[in-house]
């Protein structure tokens, strides 16, 4: 089921990167270097501080998300406890949850046109990001073979 707020184009996009441990901060560090500092990016680093639960962190962030915002949540592992807790506590009509996060995927979505519906952006970005996973040695071998055949 897709979120229903897709037709609104003037909505503010907010983002959460939610991971086991400090991967989220690592991704944010890379984003800052490549695309520059972005507003409305929140981090959840599960199990780093045993006194802070994912639910607590989600609640604090969701308090800053209005019905006029869209919230994209990137999680690390489908079936993992972080994704499961996000699903349990944050699933609502203006929330889009994407698991299996990687850097190309986040960059593609954060840089996407704000006038294009999020459902469309997410579908296309996931497809593009999947193509970023490449066994590069094999690619190089194939390219070398092509050069030799020419």
């Amino acid at each position: 089921m897709y979120p229903v707020h897709d037709m609104h184009t003037e909505r503010t996009r907010k983002f959460i990167i939610a991971t086991h441990g400090t991967l989220a901060a690592g991704i944010k560090s890379s984003l800052d270097i490549i695309i520059g500092a972005m507003e409305n990016v929140f981090l959840i680093q599960a199990y780093v501080d045993e006194n802070v639960t994912v639910e607590d962190e989600l609640k604090a962030i969701l308090a800053q998300v209005t019905d006029d915002d869209d919230l994209v949540i990137f999680t690390d592992i489908l079936g993992g406890s972080v994704t499961n807790q996000v699903l349990q506590h944050a699933l609502r009509s203006n929330v889009y949850i994407i698991s299996g996060v990687n850097l190309p995927l986040i960059m593609e979505i954060m840089l996407a046109d704000t006038g294009t519906p999020l459902n469309e952006i997410i579908e296309e970005s996931i497809n593009n990001a999947k193509e970023q996973m490449v066994f590069v040695n094999k690619l190089l071998t194939a390219e070398n073979k092509e050069d030799q055949d020419d």
């Binding site: 270097i33 490549i34 695309i35 520059g36 190309p104 960059m107 593609e108 840089l111 996407a112 046109d113 296309e124 970005s125 593009n128 990001a129 193509e131 970023q132």
Partner: protein, 88 residues
């Protein structure tokens, strides 16, 4: 539509940071801006599509700009490829 060819002078080619800047640059214009390398054409509103062209130093690419503000857009894109890219 304005079509211009550029030789990529940056030794590193079009890597992530300049590609990001190109996406951001394109957001300033209404025109549809596309890059063509070989047989493949992509719009510059997708970082990963730009990177998928694997544009390397020394290669030639074509830029197509189509829209009401195409003259201004083509000028800005021209500056990007002739000056800014090699500094990134």
């Amino acid at each position: 539509m304005i079509t211009t060819d550029y030789i990529i002078t940056a030794p590193q080619g079009m890597h992530a940071r300049p590609a990001t800047n190109l996406v951001k640059l394109g957001k300033n214009f209404q025109s549809v801006i596309s890059l063509k390398k070989g047989e493949k054409t992509v719009r510059i509103n997708s970082l990963l599509n730009i990177l998928s062209l694997s544009i390397k130093g020394g290669e030639t690419i074509s830029v197509m700009v189509d829209g009401e503000d195409e003259a201004d857009a083509a000028t800005a894109i021209g500056l990007f490829f002739t000056q800014q890219l090699k500094d990134q």
